[in-house]
Amino acid sequence: MSAQQQGEAIIAIRGLRTGFGDTIIHDRLDLDVYRGEVLGIVGGSGTGKSVLLRTIIGLNRQLAGTIRLFGKDPETLDFAEKRAIERRWGVLFQNGALFSSLTVAQNIEVPMREHLALSEPLMDEIAAMKIAMVGLPPDAGAKYPSELSGGMRKRAGLARALALDPEIVFLDEPTAGLDPIGAAAFDALIQELRQALGLTVFMVTHDLDSLHAICDRIAVMAEKRVIVSGDMAAMLKFDHPWVRDYFHGPRGRAALSAKVTRQV
């Protein structure tokens, strides 16, 4: 992975400070995301993992600091340039955030309708392709989100995030609320898509198994910053009370041994 780490940083965050009212959530936060990597963001509750994700995709304004996306600072861009950048990423929210009044296929077509001028049959075809790509049965396209299980909704949300063939996808706790088998299958899906499409993945997660299975690099959030980032070996060595508890606690050990067993 070292080759990738020296590669192009498609997201570069410097000196980020965010907060609501008097509460400061991030302060002097630095983080890079390199092309082609799967980056896992971990941290205790309330350390601002989701807020960080929302700030990068522009749902939150930072109080200070810069975020460069694909080498550009969205703060300085006009509307058209911003839209051009937005086309290059996809976002999967925690519960999929599918539009409940639209079918899965229509949901996948929303970004295409908004950003591209395609004919209806072509959009239907692309939607069907994306549905197959995320491992949903073909009849899922005509269903409404309320008719799907949690895991299927996440897959459908991922299909929508991939609608415009993005370079980077943001995943907010993709395996939360899934049973262990579903979670492992989702991890495998992300791994597969990343290899097939050359995606960069920015993933907020709590799932130690996911971290072991698919993340190239892990960034730990604590004390309003990213206190350490690196691969799993670096995490296991890092000396900080929270990091040690997280990766060396009973669940951490179980996930680690599961990984070792898998490799054997």
């Binding site: 599918l98 539009f99 409940s100």
Partner: protein, 206 residues
């Protein structure tokens, strides 16, 4: 729609009955027709409709948009460069602006109909006479005074419903709280706007 129709019909009945009882003391029963027609057309028909719609559609707007907010659908829209204002608020408010005057018209008609039925039963004023009386003594301006207010009521109800929906945060409990708030505020604002119109029409003597 059936609720609006039924309630206005009943209000027409009640007004006619009350009017008849009171006016009979002065031997002025025949003015019951004017009493019913003017109060229904100018005020009650449209006001009742607006209050029912605030309870029915205003609350629905808040609940729908609120649950979309909870489900992060609104955030998803923003990331897809869709404007929630344009996608969610404008169509709902416009729909209400179109629908409320129509419902108000139905309410007016049903209110007059209820009045006619009661006049016939209690006062022996035949529907023919009732209509004739309406024609002669109740100018169309009363109808317009009522109906012109409908789009303004609709705007209030729609905007409040959507605004409160967008304020939802956190949990399902917040949806419930803001739905209640939206109905209360909408009804309050409808009555305030109605009062403002009353003063305005009184000043211009319309």
């Amino acid at each position: 729609m059936p609720i609006v129709a039924l309630i206005s019909f009943l209000i027409g009945v009640v007004l006619a009955y009350q009017g008849a009882t009171q006016l009979r003391q002065f031997g002025a029963e025949i003015f019951t027709v004017e009493l019913v027609a003017i109060s229904v057309l100018r005020e009650i028909g449209i006001l009742l409709t607006a209050i029912i719609i605030a309870g029915r559609s205003g609350s629905a707007f808040t609940a729908q948009i609120g649950s979309m907010k909870l489900n992060e659908e609104i955030d998803a829209m923003r990331t897809l460069a869709l404007d929630p204002m344009e996608m969610l608020v404008v169509p709902r408010v416009l729909a209400l602006i179109i629908a409320l005057p129509m419902l108000g018209f139905i309410a007016d008609m049903m209110g007059l109909f209820g009045g006619a039925v009661m006049c016939w039963i209690v006062l022996d004023i035949t529907p023919g006479l009732y209509l004739q009386r309406l024609n002669e003594w109740v100018p169309l301006s009363h109808f317009w005074v009522g109906i012109i207010k409908a789009p303004f009521f609709a705007l209030m109800i729609g905007l409040i419903g959507c605004y409160e929906g967008l304020q939802v945060e956190g949990s399902a409990e917040s949806v419930g709280r803001l739905t209640t708030k939206s109905v209360v505020e909408a009804i309050f604002m409808v009555i305030v706007v109605d009062a403002v119109f009353s003063i305005y029409f009184a000043v211009i003597e319309f």
